[in-house]
Amino acid sequence: MENSELKKLIISSLDSDTDPAETCKRLQDKGVSFNFSNGFTDRVLDAIAASGLVVAMNKNEIEDSIRIIFYRIAIGGVAAILILFVSIMLSEESFSLNSLLGLSNSYDESIICLLTGK
């Protein structure tokens, strides 16, 4: 292809009355192309992997995951408290403050002895 032809095309591509998409295509047909070197895609993927980016996970998905973990911990905690109350109820046969504190079977003297060491 004549270089003068290409030069004319370059100049005419900037005319206001030309169709830019059409001249762009004609330039490409004349061999004008810009590309990255071979293996560009692999290099991008490697760079992403090397930088440890995990942001691909949607922000909403991260929020959802945190919420699920929170609910699971909360439900586990409530279940543990209920099991504790049931076991106290079964062992102490009452549900008073003393039984909750584990003091129902202790005499006052024992407590004073425990606290003072005498």
């Binding site: 292809m1 270089n3 290409l6 030069k7 370059i10 100049i11 591509s13 900037l14 005319d15 206001s16 830019p20 998409a21 059409e22 001249t23 762009c24 295509k25 330039l27 004349k30 061999g31 004008v32 192309s33 810009f34 590309n35 990255f36 070197s37 560009f40 895609t41 692999d42 290099r43 991008v44 993927l45 760079a47 992403i48 992997a49 930088s51 980016l53 995990v54 942001v55 691909a56 996970m57 949607n58 922000k59 998905e61």
Partner: protein
């Protein structure tokens, strides 16, 4: 190598798969759009190592911001916007670098030397375009790249570069007269 199964997938499917952590789906997005990014980045920065790095940064930034992509615009336009912004940043960085290291008595940013070729046939079409662009004033280079290499209309160029349409038109006219002079020497 990206499997053929990704080639039939739509943009939305690839975006969703990438958000689910599918690297190969993102690889397909890169593969489909790298030519467009290369035209913008290499058109503005030249065929340099910097341009390859900026191209890479475009897709890394895309990966980081993929969750913010709402699909209001088409993915290529979104990628193109990132490419333009990062390329402009690189041009600013180069300008700062040159303003520090260029000689005081030569305030203008030096342009690439136009090398004369003995054998016209040896000149590759892309190289002629690239050399012509690199000898253009950078602010004209941007509008020329968008129009000549990407095929954008004046309005699309104005939107992409956040410039008024009138500015784009006047820059194109000035770029055209500069290019005439540059191409005479190539």
């Amino acid at each position: 190598m990206i499997g053929d199964s990704y080639r039939d997938k739509t943009e939305d499917e690839l975006v969703r798969a990438s958000l689910d952590g599918d690297r190969l789906a993102f690889g397909e997005i890169v593969r489909r759009n790298q030519g467009m990014v290369a035209r913008t980045v290499k058109g503005m920065l030249g065929n340099t190592v910097d341009a390859e790095d900026v191209g890479q940064d475009v897709f890394i930034k895309l990966y980081r911001s993929l969750q913010d992509f709402r699909g209001d615009s088409k993915l290529p336009a979104y990628i193109q916007k990132i490419a333009v912004n990062l390329t402009l940043n690189e041009l600013k960085r180069r300008k700062r670098y040159l303003s520090v290291f260029a000689r005081k008595d030569n305030a203008e940013i030096p342009r690439l030397e136009i090398a004369a070729y003995d054998d016209e046939e040896k000149r590759d079409a892309s190289e002629i375009v690239s050399r012509a662009l690199m000898n253009l004033n950078p602010k004209y280079r941007m509008v020329v790249t968008m129009r000549m290499l990407q095929g954008y209309s004046t309005k699309e160029t104005a939107e992409m570069l956040d410039l008024p349409v009138g500015t784009v038109l006047s820059r194109l006219a000035r770029a055209q007269s500069q290019l005439r002079e540059i191409l005479k020497k190539l």
